[in-house]
Symmetry: C2
Subunit: 344 residues, 2 copies
């Protein structure tokens, strides 16, 4: 008979408006049998080790007529990317004791019935938590945005917003490896310092201290921006448009400044797209899964050789998960926000 254990969970209370609050999630303890139930084929029962906090998760907390990913189900655990260990499996692709990453629940143990979103972890000489970020969707996002969409050439100028975040920090380092001039914006002095000292950005600035974002960009990009990697949208996008060079490219990766608004802000200066012959292109990293093998072959050596550095903001324990998620939207995290439940 399967062992039944207690299972702490972070439950999604119900759909929200505006900024998410810790109280939109409830900590609950239920029980779970550490075995895939009879008749449940192709499923895995996992112990969750690390959970990923990502801005896009906000969009799963509000029901609209144009949700681009399924909303969370009230009264069930929050769903997100995570690293986990297989405790039991009825799926021939995943075996007991194997490590996986992919979509899992915000709880100690999860029964995952839909395993298409799971990946087996092959390389364990790097921190396991990296598979929530630099070796997972965040890293692939940076890779796709740089190598598939904007394709920077040596000497080009690159601006990155939310630059110390999960994706931004990697984007900046990729651009530096390609020989670009790289400037990032972030929201605290600590983050700005990190960009310059740890990630090797040429310059960085605190956007909260700039009364005029256009003027700030003109200071760092006297001849204009070739590539704007946009993680924030809104006013920063508006200012970047004014500074794009001819044939500039805007990678629309995310728009965190807009996620908590009832109605998105209008962005001015779009005529620059015509006049400067700009290509602005969005992408959903989930549609680039086929690039994962190529991406891992590319980034693993860079991590091992210390050529790419990576900063995580680690919250300890499932109890801290709601605050960690909420903190993303006030810029509380320094680096990729994750939650550590267990190390093995």
């Amino acid at each position: 008979m399967a062992e039944e254990v207690s299972n702490k969970q972070v439950i999604f209370k119900g759909y929200i408006n505006g900024y998410p609050k810790e109280s939109d999630m409830i900590l609950k303890t239920s029980t779970i049998k550490l075995k895939v139930p009879e008749g449940c084929s192709d499923a895995v029962l996992v112990k969750n080790l690390y959970l990923s906090c990502d801005p896009y998760m906000r969009s799963r907390m509000t029901k609209t007529d144009h949700n681009y990913i399924p909303v969370f189900t009230p009264a069930l655990p929050i769903i997100g990317a995570g690293v986990a260990k297989v405790l039991d499996s009825s799926n021939p692709n995943f075996k007991k004791d194997e490590l996986i990453w992919g979509m899992t629940g915000w709880e100690e143990y999860s029964l995952i019935k839909s395993t298409e979103g799971l990946f087996k972890i092959q390389d364990t000489d790097v921190p396991l938590s990296y598979y929530t970020g630099i070796l997972g969707w965040s890293g692939l996002s940076a890779y796709v945005g740089i190598y598939e969409i904007s394709c920077p050439k040596q000497g080009e100028t690159v601006f990155i917003s939310a630059a110390s975040g999960a994706v931004g920090q990697i984007v900046g380092q990729f651009a530096k490896l390609l020989g670009c001039y790289v400037v990032g914006s972030a929201g605290t002095k600590d983050k700005v310092d990190l960009l310059k000292t740890k990630f090797g950005f040429d310059y960085a600035f605190n956007y909260k201290e700039e009364a005029d974002l256009n003027a700030a960009l003109k200071r760092y990009f006297t001849k204009g921006i070739d590539i704007y990697f946009d993680n924030v949208g809104g006013e920063m996008l508006e200012a970047a448009l004014l500074n794009m060079k001819l044939n500039g490219r805007i990678v629309a990766c995310g728009m965190i400044s807009q996620y908590n608004l009832q109605e998105s802000q209008g962005v001015k200066n779009l005529f620059k797209i015509v006049a400067q012959e700009i290509r602005m292109q969005g992408f959903m990293v989930s549609n680039y899964v086929h690039l994962f093998p190529k991406f891992l072959d590319f980034i693993l050596p860079l991590i091992r050789e210390g050529k790419i550095r990576y900063v995580e903001d680690v919250a300890q324990g499932l109890e801290s998960a709601p605050a960690a998620l909420v903190g993303l939207f006030s810029g509380h995290n320094v680096g990729k926000q994750i939650v550590r439940l267990a190390s093995h």
Copy 2:
């Protein structure tokens, strides 16, 4: 000795704000010698036959710190595309009696010193006036937007704003030739009828009669828009964004709704660029001159065979030119707005 003749001119009075008015231009009669002056090498003296009225000309009437093309010079004639006959030349590329098209002055006769913007007219079995439009920049704009930027595939859905205008009418016909479903918007019943009866659009609607542009687009694009060819920007772009399919493309050709505003309108719904993986790309047709030979080889047979139709709105005489230009911004023109000065 060279003959000196009177030369009616449309003079640009000075920089403006808001909508242009006829009184921003002055009709004046000066004199001109019908000969390239001594010592003026590589110039041509032309008799202007047809002048082109184009929305982009508005941007040359206001001085800002970010003009993307040079402003007009106050007290000199308006400059624009036109068809002309060479009366005298010190340029070996252009000979007396040859027909040319390109940048010329709004006057009966022009001395053109900078001839890089001039093209020799080779094919004269089609209406000469066409070189102000379908065989000139308007046609090339449609060609670049369709064949170089959006590349529609058979069965894709295409939406075109300002669809009966100089560029829109050609874009729609190109898209129909490629086997697309094509819908256009315009601002009067006559234009809407023209789109359906003359240009073969599948559907067309009068945007001024739609209280909700999003709902209007949903009516015609029940499964969404693959390609939005944007000539207007602003609220129509905002509504189109809500209706784009995954991997949709927005061709940013022009934004006539914005040209007379002191500050451009903010456009909401840009997050759709991320979520729907949209590519929005602008272009300046002047940077695609190298495609002209290929374009002419493509379009001339289509015109001769009646497979592409073209509607011009012809104002008679230089005196009517200011009203013709001003009329563009209230949608007064039906089809490409030109001014006829002489036929040969």
